[in-house]
Every structure is written in structure tokens, then in C-alpha cells.
């Protein structure tokens, strides 16, 4: 399975990555190479193997439903570019 130049452009847009158009063919080739490497797995019969959702074969430990956090808004907002009336400000988004 090969990755096309258009797919590289689409993935970059979804990930909000700015890439140099000249580099696109190179990325396409490298990504195709990764898929080709993984495709070797197709030769192995995995019919009876349960897919792993996580490399550690363990189950999640759960936490009790208790409020343990206190208000640290001022601390968190001290690193925000812009705040007003307790809100984080971002460039206008409207749907």
C-alpha cells in the first residue's frame, strides 16, 4: 500500500502541520516504506490472536468518584496568552 502526495497533504492539514511542498514526495515515499514494513505482518496467520488494545496486558485501575482538585485558575492562566473575566481568549471561532 502506497501513500500518495495528496494523502500526505491531507494528513498534514488534519494534524495542522505546515510542510514544504517540495518535501511532500519524500514524505510519501518514507510513509509508504513504513506501511510496507508493517505489511510483512500480513504473511503471519493471526486468526487465533486477540488484538491487543494496549502493549501492557493489564486492566485499568479505577479511582473513587471524589473531588480532589482545588481551584488553580490563576496559576494555570498565568501562562495563557490572553484571558479575560476568567475565560481563555482565542481567535474568533464561529460555526
Amino acid at each position: 500500500m502506497a501513500i500518495s502526495n495528496d494523502e500526505v497533504t491531507a494528513m498534514a492539514r488534519l494534524a495542522r502541520l505546515a510542510i514544504d511542498p517540495d518535501d511532500i514526495p519524500g514524505y510519501a515515499e518514507q510513509l509508504s516504506g513504513i506501511l510496507a514494513f508493517v505489511a510483512r505482518m500480513d504473511e503471519v496467520d493471526t486468526q487465533s490472536v486477540e488484538p491487543l488494545a494496549h502493549p501492557l496486558d493489564l486492566s485499568a485501575r479505577l479511582r473513587p468518584d471524589q473531588v480532589t482538585e482545588s481551584d488553580q485558575r490563576d496559576l494555570f492562566q498565568s501562562i495563557a496568552p490572553e484571558v479575560e473575566r476568567g475565560l481563555y481568549l482565542v481567535p474568533k471561532v464561529i460555526e
Binding site: 491531507a10 488534519l14 495542522r16 488494545a53 494496549h54 502493549p55 501492557l56 493489564l58 486492566s59 485499568a60 485501575r61 479505577l62 479511582r63 473513587p64 468518584d65 471524589q66 473531588v67 480532589t68 482538585e69 481551584d71 488553580q72 485558575r73 494555570f76 492562566q77 490572553e82 479575560e84 473575566r85 476568567g86 475565560l87 481563555y88 481568549l89 482565542v90 481567535p91 474568533k92 471561532v93 464561529i94 460555526e95
Partner: protein, 477 residues
């Protein structure tokens, strides 16, 4: 051409946990912006999500109530997209292994029952809120809601009308409140709905292209939005156009739907299992322990009310509609099962009216269930006439005192003493010879006047049925 409507619903129910699904921040509604958004909710570097056990318990509770399969090992996945109210750049959700799968629920539409299959119900985190007004060209972001647990309940596309969709939404709403897993407050966004709507020629198997309508936060809006959308799609096709798959927003002020995101921006969420979270294991023993705590479900309760207390379908529906009302009713008649019908009437009449007037929930009623039961008992046993009972009710409402206490203290006991009433009847008949003649001549209307006079003379305390009877007896002599 005849068209068939096809509807599937996605309901988002905020789970009534104290803390968030992956952090220990509070989920309380209405706090100052960003005072309940902790480092985990903000997606700051180095934090790790830890699953709230109550969110799992509530999802399992729901799954059991809709007779679904509970997934023994469910998996959290990342749903990737960029939006300012989603700080991490992905929402933690469930994709391939949702915690609840293949359930069903029965709805009532126009007196007929229909079962709607529920494809899945999965856990996920809510996003924050964007405020678009008043920030000189910027948007304000409040992340208090970010990380609030949601159960997304996805139905099969099995509804065929706006009325069925609304009935389904009501049924799920009633169920989550019965189960105590969601407060169901639609104004505060605790219970929200998206509808996938398409049309196809009647008899055709293949589905038409669907539009997804967002922002349906009331039972009324869902019906109106779907009705509008169905007409729009049919007109579009009949005029040679094509429905495009898109997200549309319902605007209640204009009563229309309009496109929200263009097809070009169709999302590719690139789901993958979240490496920060291990699968959640749910054992058979755990499932049974949750099953043991399930309350009687709304439909079973309704049927029991009809059978056990001989209530009408309407009365039973009204009482079983929410658990608080049902519990109030059952406590009121606990030691007085014979007066179920009268108690139901007083509950849905006087009590509901008073609660509405003072804007109180039934749990906050100044008249407790057993007190209402006693009041009704005094009507049934003839101590109080309907009119006196209303007077006693008003005093109970304002003072919280028992009916018997008020009756004794204020001498409101209905007079059923035949001798006392006979004296009053004799006096009234003697004072109104003209009316007596008219009554003897067959003018029955005059009877009401004479009963009224006797009631007045006895300060409203005479038993009106007895007065009636005694006047007739006196004239017969």
C-alpha cells in the same frame, strides 16, 4: 411519490458523578469559568487520565436496564480534531469496544408499542464551552465542562416519524433519571440529542443520504426540526436535487435547519486506542452486583400501578413518569392502599398545582406523603367534604401540620350528625316557602339553592350529600 422517513438518534447524557471522568475536578454546574478545570482537563504536559469508577458503574447500570451486552473489556480511544474547547486536540471516547452494545427499549406512539434497538452506548468526555459574544473579536473559552462524563447512546435508524423520535427521546430521558445516572436537565445541557434524518421512496430498502441535525435540546424542538428537515429533503429530491451528507443546526427562532459544516471539512477523526489508558475490565460478578441495585423500571412500575391499584393508564403514566412522584405516591398510600384512586387525584390536582405555583420539586413538598394520605383518608371516611378538604390542604401547605391536627384545632369536621342537619333543614324550609312550592312543583334547580342555604347556616361543615337527602326526605313527608 410516497416517502418514508428514517431517523436514528444520538443522545448525550451527562453522568451524575461528583468528579470528572478522568480527573478529580468537580462537575458541579454553574461555577465561575475555569475554576473547575484542572491540569488533566486542560491537557497540560505530563498528566495522565485515571478512570472514575462511578462512570463505569453508571454505564453498566444503563446497559442492564436496556437489556444490552456489557463488554467485558472496553477500550478508550482518541478521537482527533482541533477546536479551542478541546484542549488536548483529541477527545477520549470509545470506538471499537464500547462498554454497552446491542440493547433495546420500548416506546409508545399513538397507543401502539414499538421496540427500538440501541446499537451502542459508549463513555466519553465532554468538551468545554465557547462563548462568542462580547470579546472584541475573540472567543472566550470556559473549560469547566471539559472532562464531564458523557454516555453517548446511539440508536439504530429504526424510527419512522418525528413523533417516534420524540417518544424515544422521552423514554431514554425517563430511564436515565430513574436509574439516577443523569439529572436530565436539558436547559443546562445535561441531556442533548443529535438526529440523523433521511428519506427514501416507500418500499425501497437502501437508505437515502442523511443529514445530521445538532442542537436538539427539547422534546418539542426535536419534533419540529425533524418535520422541517423531512419536508426540505423531499422537496429537494422532487425538484431534481440531491441531499448532501452534512451537519445541520436547528434554529428554534426561525424554525428551520441550516448547514453547519460543509462536506469539504468532513471530519476524519483518526481514532486509535488511547495509549494513556488500559482497557476497563468488567467481571460477571461486578455486573451482577450492579444488577442487584437496579430500581423497578418505569414500564414495569406503570403496569403495576394499573394492575395493583386499578388506576387508569393516564393516571399511572403521570405518576410513574418520574421516580420521585412515584415514590411519593407509594408512600402516601402505603398504609391506605384502598384509596389509591383518590390519592392519585389529589396528587395530580391540588398537590401538583401548589408545587407549580411555588416552583417546588415534589421532594421539597411541605406536605409529606403520609400527611397527604391522612387528608385523603378524612375525605374517604366522610370527616371532610371536598370543600373543607381544600381548606385543610391550604393550611397544611403553609404550616406543615397534619390534617387531623388542623381539623381538631379549627373545628373543620364535617357535620354528619343527622339531628343537627335536620334542624337546619327545617329552619331553611320554613324560611323559604316559595322555593319549597317550586320544588314540589318539580323545579329541581331550586334544590341546589336550598342545599346552599343549609350549608351556609352550618358554616360549610354539613355533609352536602346528607343535606340533599334530608331535604328530599322532609319534602316527601
Amino acid at each position: 411519490m410516497q416517502w418514508e422517513t428514517v431517523i436514528g438518534l444520538e443522545i448525550h447524557a451527562q453522568l451524575a458523578t461528583r468528579s470528572k471522568i478522568f480527573s478529580g475536578a468537580s462537575t458541579a454546574y454553574g461555577a465561575e469559568p475555569n475554576t473547575q478545570a484542572c491540569a488533566v482537563d486542560l491537557g497540560l504536559p505530563g498528566v495522565l487520565p485515571v478512570v472514575n469508577e462511578q462512570a463505569i458503574a453508571m454505564a453498566v447500570r444503563f446497559g442492564l436496564a436496556i437489556d444490552a451486552r456489557i463488554t467485558p473489556r472496553s477500550v478508550f480511544a482518541r478521537k482527533n480534531y482541533f477546536y479551542p474547547d478541546l484542549p488536548k486536540g483529541y477527545q477520549i471516547s470509545q470506538y471499537e469496544a464500547p462498554i454497552v452494545a446491542q440493547g433495546r427499549i420500548t416506546i409508545d406512539v399513538d397507543g401502539a408499542q414499538k421496540t427500538i434497538n440501541i446499537t451502542r452506548a459508549h463513555l466519553e468526555e465532554d468538551a468545554g464551552k465557547s462563548l462568542h459574544e462580547d470579546f472584541h473579536g475573540a472567543s472566550g473559552i470556559d473549560l469547566n465542562r471539559a472532562g464531564t462524563p458523557l454516555l453517548e447512546i446511539v440508536s439504530e435508524p429504526e424510527m419512522r416519524s418525528a413523533a417516534e423520535a420524540a417518544a424515544y427521546m422521552r423514554e431514554i430521558h425517563r430511564l436515565v433519571r430513574y436509574l439516577g445516572i443523569c439529572d436530565g436537565n436539558m436547559q443546562e445541557g445535561s441531556f442533548r440529542c443529535d438526529a440523523n434524518v433521511s428519506v427514501r421512496p416507500l418500499g425501497q430498502q437502501a437508505f437515502g443520504t442523511r443529514a445530521e441535525i445538532k442542537n436538539l435540546n427539547s422534546f418539542r424542538f426535536i419534533e419540529r426540526a425533524i418535520e422541517f428537515e423531512v419536508v426540505r429533503q423531499i422537496e429537494l429530491i422532487e425538484n431534481g436535487g440531491k441531499v448532501v451528507q452534512e451537519t445541520r443546526l436547528y434554529d428554534p427562532d426561525k424554525d428551520e435547519t441550516r448547514p453547519l459544516r460543509s462536506k469539504e471539512d468532513a471530519h476524519d477523526y483518526r481514532y486509535f486506542p488511547d495509549p494513556d489508558l488500559l482497557p476497563v475490565a468488567v467481571s460477571a460478578d461486578y455486573i451482577e452486583s450492579i444488577r442487584a441495585t437496579l430500581p423497578e423500571l418505569p414500564r414495569a412500575k406503570l403496569t403495576r400501578f394499573v394492575n395493583e391499584f386499578e388506576l387508569s393508564q393516564e393516571d399511572a403514566t403521570l405518576l410513574a413518569n418520574d421516580l420521585e412522584t412515584a415514590n411519593y405516591f407509594e408512600q402516601a398510600i402505603a398504609s391506605r392502599p384502598g384509596q389509591a384512586k383518590q390519592t392519585a387525584n389529589w396528587l395530580s390536582g391540588e398537590l401538583f398545582a401548589a408545587l407549580n405555583r411555588d416552583n417546588l420539586a415534589i421532594a421539597a413538598s411541605p406536605i409529606k406523603p403520609t400527611q397527604l394520605g391522612q387528608l385523603v383518608e378524612r375525605i374517604v371516611d366522610g370527616t371532610l367534604s371536598g370543600k373543607l378538604a381544600k381548606q385543610v390542604f391550604a393550611t397544611m401547605w403553609s404550616s406543615g401540620r397534619d390534617a387531623d391536627d388542623i381539623i381538631a384545632a379549627e373545628g373543620l369536621r364535617q357535620v354528619s350528625d343527622t339531628h343537627l342537619i335536620e334542624v337546619a333543614v327545617r329552619d331553611i324550609l320554613a324560611q323559604n316557602p316559595e322555593q319549597v312550592e317550586q320544588l314540589r312543583a318539580g323545579k329541581d334547580k331550586v334544590l341546589g339553592f336550598l342545599v346552599g342555604q343549609v350549608m351556609k347556616k352550618t358554616g360549610g361543615k354539613a355533609n352536602p350529600a346528607l343535606v340533599n337527602q334530608l331535604i328530599k326526605a322532609a319534602l316527601a313527608n
